[in-house]
Symmetry: C2
């Protein structure tokens, strides 16, 4: 990480592990085992319980995943305390060598976008390595992030086709015999120069939901070098095979992005489980997803 | 504010003041007079200078504007300290009776959107009264905000047509003999029930750039009751008349939303101005915009 190319880092880890698993860090307080919210028999503040839980999650992911994806909203809802925790988790991940993709879906005009780019500023210890963006306001709103991508080794993932049931409402509209999401994908091609690393992959990535595998293949033709961030695997219903629909043959396995799972890995047991029971179930859930993805990514 | 209808609050203030001016709180640190960054001859931390400046800005806006619009990005770039300041400013504004529209342009799926809705949770002192949203992922992503709108007196403004030069790239695409932004506007109509207040206006508002007045009129036909948040007035080039293109005749003046100015009001003098010089120029800039908008809004 640091000043190397973000895509190269992701691809190197994928080749080493044989799978592209990314774990979402989504602090759904209602699903975190109660055990994390008590200390010496006293009840913790919610934010302290969440901190304890996620420091443990990140610790247990050491060497096992290509990236983690904290969901900004779940931290923002706790205000400044939540942001402080997010920053701590980012520092912890980077110290463990786990790339951090901040799922923030930001999108705004020039000077405002430049301010958002601070969230992936490589000179800041508490900044993420990559973040998600929304291009509804045009591809000019993506440009302010490119200096960090090109010179700083950061990455971006622009929303193209999302995994939610209502994604079709606008993304699936027909424009000139093609879908809106294809126009967004085509609009991004002009941003690719100087973002492609030694691996052949670009750090200007896109978000392509795992729940629409045929769309993923169509989008891959438009953007053959862009990393995919694939949500929807696990709890949202996409199989490992579906999730890898837009991946390509690499030297070791299928490669070309990260596949994210959140709830199916973080919360494999009920809230009444002991910390020990959660640990065992969590490790097993990581192993299960890892194996499924390794199997599906095998050449 | 509180449990009254957000649109009613905005319209009531518009009728009283005779204009719909909203002032953007955009902490462009490079434009804030140096005087705010020193204390007893010592140099402040940037965040302390920004805090001093904006507490002064809000104080001086007392009774003069219909709303303020802090730009989230400029606070987020300072991490947890920036969010703490944003929360302090929101509390100050609400104490002064100035509605706060957080310009955050969030957009995400169900449970994540519900977490973002905490940013306008009326039960939280540090939450804004309204926020901006991005519907690229579909109108289902707007739904989780509606409980706060319908039961809590909060407001939302969904991006329809933005004020930036590159807005046309996707928003202006032709879909079924109409523009994409019109489809987004039409998609929002199903969210309006139970959001319309005694004033006849809906708290499900939209963002419509002041730089495209003919588009504003077209969008007003699709959404006749939605408040407009109009950026682009002042520094971005829209005149007062352009900015009011989508407003309608009310009992006192043209009404139907807020017109935002940021840089032209916040930074009317160079960074070398004394605090006293900035104060005079700021008050004059508020007065100038107020008069322009009153003139343009007069029946």
């Amino acid at each position: 990480m640091g000043d190397s190319n973000f895509a190269d880092t992701i691809i190197e880890k994928t080749r080493k592990l044989g799978h592209p698993l990314c774990v979402g860090l989504d602090p759904h307080v209602a699903y975190i085992p109660n055990a994390f919210f008590s200390k010496n028999g006293q009840k913790n503040r919610p934010i302290d319980g969440i901190a304890k839980f996620f420091h443990e999650v990140v610790e247990r992911l050491n060497g096992k995943v290509v990236a983690v994806k904290p969901q900004s909203a779940f931290f923002e809802q706790y205000g400044a305390d939540g942001i402080r925790l997010l920053e701590e988790l980012i520092v912890q991940c980077k110290q463990q060598g786990i790339p951090v993709i901040l799922d923030a879906k930001r999108g705004d005009i020039g000077s405002t976008a430049a301010a958002y780019a601070a969230l992936i500023d490589p000179s800041k210890a508490e900044a993420a390595n990559a973040m998600t963006l929304n291009a509804y306001m045009g591809t000019e709103t993506i440009e302010p992030f490119l200096p960090h991508v090109i010179q700083g080794g950061a990455g971006i993932f622009v929303l193209v086709k999302t995994s939610n049931p209502g994604a079709e409402e606008f993304q699936g509209l027909q424009v000139d015999h093609d879908f809106l999401y294809c126009h967004v994908a085509k609009g991004l091609t002009r941003l690719l120069p100087h973002t492609i690393g030694a691996s052949g992959w670009s750090s200007v990535g896109i978000v392509v939901g795992g729940t629409y595998p045929s769309d993923a293949m169509r989008i891959r033709e438009i953007l053959p070098t862009s990393l995919f961030l694939v949500p929807g695997y696990g709890a949202q219903g996409a199989s490992a095979k579906d999730a890898l629909a837009g991946f390509l043959r690499g030297p070791m396995c299928l490669e070309g992005g990260v596949v994210n799972a959140s709830r199916s890995i973080l919360f494999p047991v009920g809230v009444d489980a002991t910390a020990r029971e959660w640990e065992a179930a969590f490790d097993e859930a990581v192993l299960k997803s890892t194996r499924e993805l390794q199997e599906a990514a095998r050449l």
